[in-house]
Amino acid sequence: MVDVRKERWNKQAGTQVGREERELFEKVILPHLNSAYNLARWLTRNEQDAEDIVQDSFVRALRSFDTFRPTEDGRAWLLAIVRNCCRTWHQRSRVAQAVELDVDSQPALAAWSDPEALLRNAGDSEQLHAAIGELPLEYREVLILRELEELSYKEIAQIVEVPLGTVMSRLSRARRELYARLSASGGQVGR
């Protein structure tokens, strides 16, 4: 707590803050560049847009760095910003038409396919890539945050700004939906 106070004091007094703040930023936020890019790349499905969004996210992150508490996880804090930037990008570019549908009210797919065949298909990572890319945005983001970033439901809930229960149901719907798409594209008929 003393440190926090001292930091505030410095910030207000305007001495050397720039450097200290920048050092802290480089230590706790900048190392998560890959996570930021991975999320943006999955959500935009485009390299150039992902780069732009990540750059923009870091500028925003630095600007609002005083809202970052040292006890927080830097990665989750940064990913929330990246996610919001992606949202704005979607709204602007109107790519999000498919996202309009209310995924939470759709029934979860009950059908279950042959997992071994699925894994063979998943071995073809291009096919897996395409199948994830076609998922609604709401499904894609929880899937990336869980399977690739291995964040907890609680952290995902904070990033995506929904209750914990919604994260749980969205993630399981996302998985069922992905598996169904994979087995369908693998030519598994009569699942």
């Binding site: 707590m1 106070r5 505030r8 004091w9 207000q12 007094a13 305007g14 720039g18 920048r22 930023f25 900048l30 560049l33 890959n34 930021a36 890019y37 991975n38 790349r41 999955w42 390299e47 992902a50 780069e51 990540v54 750059q55 870091f58 500028v59 630095l62 600007r63 939470d104 009210s105 279950w112 997992p115 699925l118 894994l119 998943a122 071995g123 990572s125 897996l128 890539h129 994830i132 869980r146 399977e147 690739l148 907890s152 439901y153 609680k154 809930a157 929904v162 209750p163 914990l164 229960g165 919604t166 994260v167 749980m168 149901s169 993630l171 399981s172 998985r175 992905l178 598996y179």
Partner: protein
């Protein structure tokens, strides 16, 4: 725990996101029930396979350079702005001293134990979760307020206000006796799409107040008092939907 509940919780179980008690309930069911055991094994194999083979996009090497350059640029801008603002430095220091005092005061307050109503909000959420897990949502299942209301009489020392809000998208499902705040209370169960809302109510001495919102373990909670009755609504639906529910109920 039945098969449907076990399967709904399967992914959270797989991700080790359940509390100890629920997790051991699912674990026991999966061990004993052949069907769910198979489903669990499949889910697990597939999840592991997918998360291993899902491509991870690392940032292009030049991106970090670009970002550092961008950040340097912003720093220059900030420094320039700061020089202009330097005359206000002493005022800033004075404000800061006041700020630190206030900050300390606020921290001490924040470190204090949670208030009575925060504790009650936690109790409300626990009750809500229990009612969903234990498959004991309703003692009286009826969408008719004229069936639900009389059912409580003789079981409680007060008559709860029971409203059907089907027209607003919140159909009444039934009622249940529960125990909160050291007293028996009425629990009314409403649905909104696939979400369940528990509305707990009991008499209160205070005047009208609220709605006051709380967020506990990812659940939204709203509390309000009207006509000497206190209400606690809890659900996993969005804060906006819960607000609409409270508004429609108070109307």
């Amino acid at each position: 725990m039945n098969c449907q509940q076990a399967r709904e919780l399967m992914d959270a179980y797989l991700d080790q996101e359940l509390d100890l008690m629920t997790s051991s309930q699912v674990g026991r069911h999966v061990a004993e029930c052949e069907g769910c055991g198979e489903v669990y094994a499949k889910y697990r194999r597939v999840r592991d396979g997918v998360s291993e083979q899902m491509p991870y996009f690392a940032a292009p090497p030049k991106l970090e350079e670009k970002i550092r350059a961008e950040l340097d640029l912003r720093k220059e801008e900030r420094r320039a702005a700061k020089t202009v603002a330097n005359w206000g430095r002493w005022a800033a220091i004075a404000a800061c001293v006041a700020g630190v005092l206030l900050f300390t005061f606020v921290s001490v307050r924040a470190l204090r134990r949670p208030s009575g109503s925060e504790l009650l909000a936690q109790e409300v959420v626990s009750s809500h979760i229990r009612s969903l897990l234990a498959n004991h949502l309703s003692d009286v299942v009826s969408s008719d307020q004229h069936t639900v209301k009389p059912w409580f009489s003789g079981k409680l020392d007060f008559a709860p206000v029971v409203k059907d809000l089907s027209a607003d998208g919140f159909p009444l499902i039934g009622g249940r006796l529960d125990y909160l705040n050291d007293r028996p209370v009425a629990a009314l169960i409403y649905k909104h799409r696939q979400h369940t809302i528990n509305l707990f109510t009991w008499p209160s001495a205070g005047g009208d107040s609220g709605p006051q919102s709380y967020s506990v373990r990812g659940y939204h909670v709203l509390q309000w008092t009207r006509a000497q009755m206190t209400y606690w609504a809890v659900s996993d639906m969005s804060a906006a939907d819960l607000n609409n529910f409270a508004r429609d109920f108070m109307r």
